[in-house]
Every structure is written in C-alpha cells, then in structure tokens.
C-alpha cells in the first residue's frame, strides 16, 4: 500500500512534473538500477532536492528508501509527522547527538535502518544553507560510514534546484536544473576525517562530470 502511494506520488507525478514543467534533467541515473542498498549523499539547498532524488528511484525498491529529516523542523505537529512518514517515506531524527542514555542517537537510528536492509538519503551539510553554495560536511556521515563500511555510498550533485524553490519561499517556479548521479565511493581509509574529505571530493567530482 505504502509502495503504491509512493509510486503514484514520485514515479508518476513528481517525475513527470519535474521533467516537463520544472525542466529537471536526470544524468547517469542507471547507477541506481543495480544497487540493492545504499547511502545516498547529496548537496542540499532546497526542499525540492528530496523530491528530485525520490523521483529518480526505481519503483522496484522506492518504499525501501528513506530520506532522513530533522525532527525539530519536520516533526513539528502530528499532521506533519504523518505526512512525512507516508508521503515522503522519511525517517525523523534529532539534529544533536545524544548526551544521555534517554536521548535518541541519530546515528543509531540510521544504522538500524541500514541493518534492516533499507537505504537512506542524507544531506551531510546538515541544512539548506546559502543558495547555490556547498558548505562543509558535518561529522554524521563519517560516523555512519564508519559503522556500516559495507554499504555503498552514492554521491549525487543537484545543480540549480535552489532556484526553483529557494529557502524561505513557497512558490515553485520552472528553471532548467540537473541531478547527476555518481558511481559509489571507494574509501581509502575509514578514519572519520578521511571519510568526510572523500565524500566531499566525490560530490565535487560528480559536479564536474557534466560540464
């Protein structure tokens, strides 16, 4: 049932809307086809980013892909929570790491999802930030990859989507924009710092693929 809702929303509605009206172009989308499980990392400037990534998922496993969202921003009300859960298939996590035992640890939530065989979409920058600018990655991606070294990490570069729906606006406008998928990252070492640097480099490399 959930799968059907997601297919109707993303594979049918959003994909065509983004392609025809917004003018989004998908590059190198076939890397997703063979993968079973992955951590998808992308630069983040707009709410449209999640729509663009979800709409490019193959309908075969779209229900097993979870965008990770900040609980303080998206989990404000009960209605929002249900919407996020069923319409976006999102998993809500707190933005801060756990200080005591009672708090939920965000890394643990994501790791548990990965252990269940689910895939996740995360934005390592942490927030949407300044339009069109990629900021430094937070440490979360490092911890996550370190704990789950066998899961593929796919870098994705989103180009121009911040123009269609900038931060703080609620009018979606057509602009030609692109989503570019890269091949999964080979990490040389699983040190926290190295993982973060490698991930950043990978996204910049994807950016230069189509230019």
């Amino acid at each position: 049932m959930k799968k059907l809702i997601l297919i109707i929303i993303y594979t049918i509605f959003w994909r065509n809307f983004l392609k025809i009206i917004i003018g989004l172009k998908y590059y190198n989308q076939q890397v997703l086809r063979k993968k079973k499980q992955f951590i998808l990392i992308a630069n983040h400037n707009s709410h449209m980013d999640t729509m663009a990534i979800m709409s490019s998922m193959p309908s075969k496993y779209i229900h097993r892909v979870h965008p990770v969202a900040a609980e303080d921003f998206f989990g404000g009300s009960r209605f929002k929570k249900i919407l996020m859960r069923y319409m976006v298939n999102a998993t809500l996590i707190p933005r801060k790491r756990a200080n005591s035992d009672e708090d939920i640890d965000p890394i643990e939530v994501m790791s548990n999802l990965l252990k269940k065989g689910r895939s996740i979409i995360i934005y390592p920058e942490g927030s949407r930030g300044v339009p069109g600018v990629m900021t430094d990655f937070k440490k979360g991606i490092g911890y996550l990859v370190k704990q789950n070294p066998t899961v593929d990490v796919i870098p994705v570069y989103l180009d121009g989507l911040h123009k269609t729906l900038p931060k703080g606006k609620n009018l979606i406008l057509p602009y030609n924009c692109r989503i570019i998928f890269g091949d999964s990252i080979n990490f040389d070492s699983f040190d926290l710092e190295d993982i973060i640097i490698d991930a950043e480099k990978a996204i910049h490399k994807v950016k230069s693929l189509v230019e």
Partner: protein, 318 residues
C-alpha cells in the same frame, strides 16, 4: 483517436512540401554518412548530429502542424514555455521577481487562447500593451526597488522574444481571413518555417564555404558578409520556388516576402547571439543535440513570424 486522424487534411501542396523536406533530410543524412566514411572530421560529426536532430524536429513539427489544430496550439505553447524557461535560467533575477515570473509564464496560455479564438486585436495588444504595463507594476508591488529597472525591461522583452513572435505561428492557423479561398493557414505556416530554416542553413553554408569578412566581429565570429549575402539571395530564390504554397501571390510579392524573411531571420539570429555573448554562454541550453537550446533554433523564427503575418495580411487580405 479516429476523430484526430480523420481531421488530417492535407492538400496537394502540403504533401509536396512534406516530400521535399523528407528528401532533403535523406540526401543530407546520406551525404554526411558518406563524407564521414571518406574523411572523418569534427565538422562532419557535428553536421551528422545536427541532421539527426533535424529528423526529430521535422517529425514533431509535421505531426503537430498537420494532425490537429489543437495539438498545434499546445505544441507551440510548450515551445514558448521551454524558450522562456531557458531565458530565465540564464538571467540573474532578483528574489523579488519570483512572483512576477509566474505571471510571465501564465501569459503563455492566455496569449495562445487568444490565438486559438482568433481574437486579432486582443492577441496583438496583450503582450506589447497589457503585459508591458502589468509586469512593471507587479514588480513595484513586490516592494524591492533595487535594480528594479533591469527587471522591468528584461521581463517584458523576454515575452516578446519567447512568446509574442512564436504565437503568430498559431494565429496563422486560426485567423479566419487566412483560411479562405486558395490560401490556407497550414500552408502559410509551412512556408514561413521552411523559408526561415532554409535561410538559417543557407547563411551557415555560405558562411562556411566563402566566409571571409566578418559582419559583426564583436558579436558573432561566425557571421560573415559572404554568408549573409549568399544566404539572402539563395533564400529569395528558394522562396520563389516554394511559391506554390501561396498561389495568390504575384512573383514580386514572393520575392519581397522571402527577402524580408531572410533579412529578419539574420536580425533575430544576431540579437540572440548578442544576448548569449552577454550571458557568457555558447548555447542557450542543451535540449537539442548539436543545435543547443530551443532559443538557438527558433531565434530567427521569433523575429520573422510577426512581420510575415502582417506582410501577408496587407498583400492578400487588405
């Protein structure tokens, strides 16, 4: 489906044009294929890619223009929409312009609705009069006056480039007086597009073969006097041969119209070249392989279609 197909109405002249277009494409494809086998070069590769795109564009255009008028209007409206989107992607607009942009996009269906209804006066004044007043006022309403004059000029002009000119193609089909007696809107549309595109190709070919003296050295290094003059002369000759599409025109009228299309096509090309130079890009987009964006292909059409419509109006109807 049956209704759509039964409305296909091709008179003998239009069938001839379709035959001519398809044979030109076949000849071009085989020529470049043989050329590529004998002496491969970068130019031939580009030409092969361009010819391939021409096949696609011709099929879409012939399908849209002959099957059903409704499809023609929708297709042309989408062409305008894609063109506008391309312009706005390259323009660096202010955040305050966003809501006005939506109005710019909404003017497309309105303009094409006027074309569909054949409301001549409304069609003519909607963009050059109404939108030129409404858009600056909406920009004022948004409250941000920094650099506002730039947006006030750019947004209405983009509508002239992307919507006003192209929508005359739709008006040709719906305008009642253009579909009486021995002239038909479809034939006029085919004539205009055939001559405009032939002019583009001829100017390109003559420029490549004989090009020496640059006509606009600061704007476009590819445009030469030889290409321009050769293109205008050959386009005028082609126009005379294609005259069978508009039987009610005398020879001097055909020559005048083809000459005007050739010169105006060059102007449109030059205008968009200058715009691209200002943006600092080579092509407006990458939607049509080998050609660039939509505006790279229809730049000359946006300037030829409106004068063509009025020339025909004065020569045939008045």
């Amino acid at each position: 489906m049956e209704k759509i197909i039964s409305s296909i109405d091709l008179n003998a002249q239009i069938q001839w044009v379709i035959a001519i277009i398809l044979s030109i494409l076949v000849i071009a494809t085989t020529t470049f294929w043989i050329w590529n086998k004998l002496k491969p070069s970068k130019l031939v590769n580009e030409m092969t890619l361009r010819t391939k795109s021409w096949w696609g564009m011709c099929f879409i255009f012939l399908f849209a223009s002959t099957v059903n008028p409704i499809i023609t209007y929708i297709g042309l409206a989408f062409l305008s929409f894609f063109t506008l989107r391309e312009i706005y992607t390259l323009l660096k607009l202010r955040d305050a312009d966003r809501s006005t942009l939506l109005v710019c996009y909404l003017s497309i269906p309105i303009q094409y609705y006027f074309a569909y209804q054949g409301w001549y006066t409304m069609f003519l004044i909607f963009i050059p009069v109404f939108m030129f007043i409404i858009i600056p006022f909406l920009l004022v309403l948004s409250g941000d006056t920094d650099d506002i004059i730039r947006s006030m000029c750019i947004l209405p002009t983009s509508l002239m480039l992307g919507v006003f000119g192209i929508s005359h193609l739709a008006l040709l089909i719906s305008f009642p007086a253009m579909n009486e007696g021995d002239i038909s809107g479809k034939a006029l549309l085919l004539f205009l597009i055939f001559i405009t595109e032939a002019n583009d190709i001829m100017q390109f070919v003559f420029g490549k073969i004989f090009g020496r003296n640059k006509i606009l050295p600061k704007v476009s290094p590819n445009k030469t006097w030889e290409g321009f003059i050769g293109g205008v002369i050959s386009t005028t000759i082609i126009g005379c041969f294609m005259g069978f599409l508009i039987p009610s025109l005398a020879l001097w009228q055909l020559i005048l119209i083809s000459f005007c299309i050739a010169v105006l096509g060059f102007m449109g090309d030059a205008i968009i070249s200058a715009v691209k130079r200002d943006f600092g890009v080579k092509d407006m987009g990458d939607s049509i392989p080998g050609h660039g964006g939509f505006l790279d292909r229809i730049d000359s059409l946006s300037t030829t279609s409106s004068p063509f419509f009025h020339l025909i109006y004065f020569m045939v109807i008045v």
